[in-house]
């Protein structure tokens, strides 16, 4: 049976972050799940950048809407690698806003929970980056 942390985190996946209503729901769900001081290290393959707090996360997803007409993290597997450590792997499905070109990429996200709140997330484009 998946832990409550794993069930919680799944609620912010499968969302099209470029759609206004879906993004609003996603950000509301993220605010429930994430600690206000959450840090999110984006995939090293796309630059060494750390998002600090929910505000940076919201700015990041607003950038997705500028760039893409569709951007979705579709989860294929959820693994609890240790207590409070959840790894999700899957495929990003996206579409360029003006090119309309369908694009995809594998992703791996490692979430760390403390007392039911996400305090850290690390991302990678390598599906095995955080394998247990």
């Amino acid at each position: 049976m998946p832990s409550s942390d794993a069930e919680l985190i799944r609620t912010i996946y499968g969302i099209d972050w470029t759609a206004v209503d879906a993004r609003a729901r996603g950000l509301a769900a993220a605010a429930e799940i994430m600690s206000p001081e959450v840090t999110a290290r984006i995939s090293p393959e796309v630059g060494d950048r750390v998002l600090e707090g929910i505000g940076d996360f919201a700015t990041f997803v607003e950038g997705l809407e500028e760039d893409f007409s569709e951007f979705r993290y579709d989860v294929e597997a959820v693994e609890e690698t240790a207590s409070g450590e959840i790894v999700l792997t899957g495929v990003i499905h996206a579409r360029g806003r003006h090119s309309r070109m369908p694009l995809s990429a594998p992703f791996s996200h490692a979430w760390s929970f403390v007392d039911g709140q996400a305090v850290r997330v690390q991302a990678s484009l390598s599906p095995t980056a955080f394998s247990g």
Binding site: G63, E66, I92, A94, G96, R100, M101, L103
Partner: protein, 137 residues
Amino acid sequence: MSQENVELVRRVTDVMDVEGFEAAFPVFLEAAHSDVEWREDPAWPDSATYRGVEQVGQVIRDRMDTLDFDQTTEDLIPVDDKVVALVRWRGRGKASGAQGEISIAIVWTVRERAITKLEFFLDRAAALEAVGLPRRD
């Protein structure tokens, strides 16, 4: 002739691969016939066919603006007056930095040492079939 066609296409794709689409644009225009045709895969949303360097130039500019695209050319296959380019495009968002990839095929038609048509196939196997080649795994 097939090898000459490959060399002409390679002149453009080499610049696309190394310096990017913007740098390749004038090289492409120089190699293109004035009535060049740009035919997009029907599976590409809002796809259309454009004709002439002016229309083709405009569609290239229109489609590039929110993502930085990198291209890797994996193979150039000559077939009669065509060259099938198997390419991988990586698009990176200018605002978010998020990126994704797609592997496609572009069939270039070359006549009298000028590029007369580009046909885009989101499914590489369909491109190979279209020029009479067997599918590749």
